[in-house]
């Protein structure tokens, strides 16, 4: 794997492997999208290069919108790898479960605000889960993993993005998913305004009704 193998494997995810490495005296993470044997080589190459090229652009755009994202140092298309700043902290997924009611509320509202800022700026994250959010040592929330994201201002894309957030909360934090999502929406609403948030919420309902076997369909 050439340069990639230099670091220590931090996490073997589904889409990419994360390596902790030293880059000119800085602690960095190298995110390498390794080839997937299960899909045809052409399709695999297309997906990996597309996501590797888009992710840094979206991270940069998100940063412009005021959403903390790791700094990018190097994009290597040959290995489909991205070298970025290592953010000291914990995944929100790990923090949320043990947080007090008040902390949970505060975290979720802030997450909602960040999503709101990002959406206002036309950035769709594409994979909003609590494992893709890092609560840094100094208390900032960093968003990572923009590989499935896109530049899009449409209500549909924003609705799907938030719907995915809701779904991720339901599968991972089912004990308090509903309350958390309400706080996320409160934060979102505070940034984009009540009118716009109402439209997005309507859209989320519509997206849910499109799904398979959803009770809400009955009333449609």
């Amino acid at each position: 794997m050439g340069e990639v193998a230099q670091g220590k494997l931090l996490k073997k995810g589904a889409e990419a492997s994360l390596y902790l490495a030293d880059w000119h005296g800085r602690k960095v993470v190298i995110k390498a999208r390794l080839p997937k044997k299960y899909r045809p080589a052409e399709l695999d190459a297309k997906i990996r290069s597309y996501r590797t090229a888009h992710e840094p652009q979206l991270m940069h755009e998100a940063k412009k919108a005021g959403v903390p994202t790791p700094m990018i140092f190097l994009v290597d298309m040959k290995y489909a790898s991205i070298t970025m700043e290592f953010v000291e902290g914990k995944q929100v997924k790990q923090v949320l479960g043990s947080a007090s009611e008040k902390e949970k509320q505060e975290l979720c509202v802030r997450i909602g605000e960040l999503i709101g800022k990002m959406h206002q700026h036309g950035v769709i994250h594409g994979d909003l889960t609590t494992s893709n959010m890092i609560l840094s040592a100094e208390g900032k929330i960093f968003l990572v993993d923009f590989g499935l994201g896109e530049k899009n201002t449409e209500l549909e894309a924003r609705g799907v993005d938030l719907h995915l957030m809701k779904r991720a909360l339901q599968s991972t934090h089912y004990q308090f998913a509903e309350a958390c999502f309400e706080h996320v929406i409160r934060g979102y609403c505070a940034v984009v305004g009540a009118e716009d948030a109402k439209n997005v919420l309507e859209k989320i309902k519509e997206i849910e009704r499109r799904g398979r076997y959803v009770a809400e369909r009955k009333q449609a």
């Binding site: 073997k12 995810g13 589904a14 889409e15 997937k36 044997k37 299960y38 899909r39 045809p40 052409e42 399709l43 297309k46 997906i47 594409g126 994979d127 909003l128 889960t129 494992s131 499935l148 799907v160 995915l164 779904r167 991720a168 339901q170 599968s171 991972t172 089912y174 997206i207 499109r210 799904g211 398979r212 076997y213 959803v214 009770a215 369909r217 009955k218």
Partner: protein, 338 residues
């Protein structure tokens, strides 16, 4: 009735185009798995026509199941039925058969969630204990795994199901659904001859996927008539299967479980099996696939899940045995899973 390991449960399956009757013992032996499939003259499943088929075939399929198991109705200790999700008229027909049997034999009745039954029969037949399950059929595309009392949905389709996507395309391509040769199998055969990968939409959103755009794009190319049909079938399969495999791998990495289970009608597809096997190997997990006879909708899975539910204190009184068309699997407590 005193129950023992040899007590028998009869399960009735009728969520969609298949009417199935299975008989299972309380210790997990499948004694019978009879069924009759409704094959539409043209187009997809017409719910009323399918329900009519079920009503007409019910006594024949029941008799077949009793003969196969070598038992009599009086030997039964429990009746289970598929209570949802599915097509209303079809579900109601199966529920009516089940209620009648339970009342006549004076044995308990238990309603079973169809999606959970697909997972449970997979576990029973393969020995998987706590897998990440990919359940793919004509009506469902779900990635689920157990956590704290229920199966949780990690990923699913945002629109149409995988089997539905393949079936609609196959019909558009003029393939015919024949007895013993479902449309998906015909498509798989053609795809094996595909040589060129045609670029089609690949839509993964978080842990969810969307297949409707892929179907539209493939159908449009088909109608233009510029591509070889085998290449299109191949490309459709490769794109759709890669998408479900990607989200299954994500659930596997997320949950860190060490088993993968492929279940549901589309599980019979060898190409999909090989893709899932590949990600299982990648994550040092064991790959399991439900045997072909239990892949499509069947009564055995309902009988077995009925046993699991009943032996953990669940029964469905007749007045609560109404069918649930949109009964999602994460709404169901599964006290038998540890």
């Amino acid at each position: 009735m005193k129950r023992s390991a040899e007590t028998l449960c009869l399960g009735v399956e009728s969520t969609a185009d298949d009417f199935g009757v299975g008989i299972a013992t309380f210790n997990g032996k499948i004694l019978a798995n009879a069924s009759s499939g409704y094959i539409p003259e043209e187009g997809g499943i017409h719910p009323r026509e399918a329900a009519r088929h079920h009503a007409e075939m019910a006594d024949k399929v029941l008799s077949e199941a009793f003969a196969e198991a070598g038992v009599k109705p009086r030997d039964l200790g429990l009746i289970a039925f598929s209570q949802g999700p599915g097509l209303g008229p079809c579900l109601r027909t199966g529920a009516t058969v089940a209620r009648a049997l339970a009342a006549y034999l004076d044995v308990p009745l238990v309603g079973v969630n169809h999606s959970i039954a697909h997972i449970e029969i997979g576990k029973l037949e393969t020995g998987a204990v706590d897998p990440v399950t990919l359940y793919v059929s004509g009506g469902n595309t779900i990635v689920a795994a157990y956590d704290s009392g229920r199966y949780r949905v990690f990923g699913e389709t945002l629109d149409i199901a995988l089997g539905n996507c393949l079936d609609v395309f196959a019909r558009e391509a003029g393939l015919k659904h024949k007895k013993g040769m479902p449309l998906g199998a015909a498509l798989e055969q053609l795809a094996a001859d595909g040589k060129r990968l045609i670029s089609l939409p690949y839509v993964v959103k978080g842990m969810d996927i969307s297949l409707s755009g892929l179907l539209t794009a493939a159908t449009t190319l088909l109608q233009k008539g510029e591509c070889r049909l085998a290449d299109l079938c191949y490309s459709l399969q490769e794109h759709a299967f890669s998408m479900v495999t990607e989200v299954t791998e994500r659930a596997l990495a997320h949950t860190e479980k060490n088993e993968v289970l492929l279940t549901g009608g589309v599980a019979a597809n060898r190409r999909l099996q090989s893709m899932l096997n590949s990600i299982a190997e990648e994550h040092d997990a064991k790959f399991n696939v439900v045997p072909r006879e239990f892949a499509t909708d069947n009564g055995a899975m309902i009988a077995w899940t009925g046993v699991l539910a009943y032996t953990h204190g669940l029964v469905t009184p007749v007045e609560k045995s109404f069918v649930k068309l949109r009964w999602r699997l994460e709404k169901v407590d599964v006290p038998w899973v540890k």
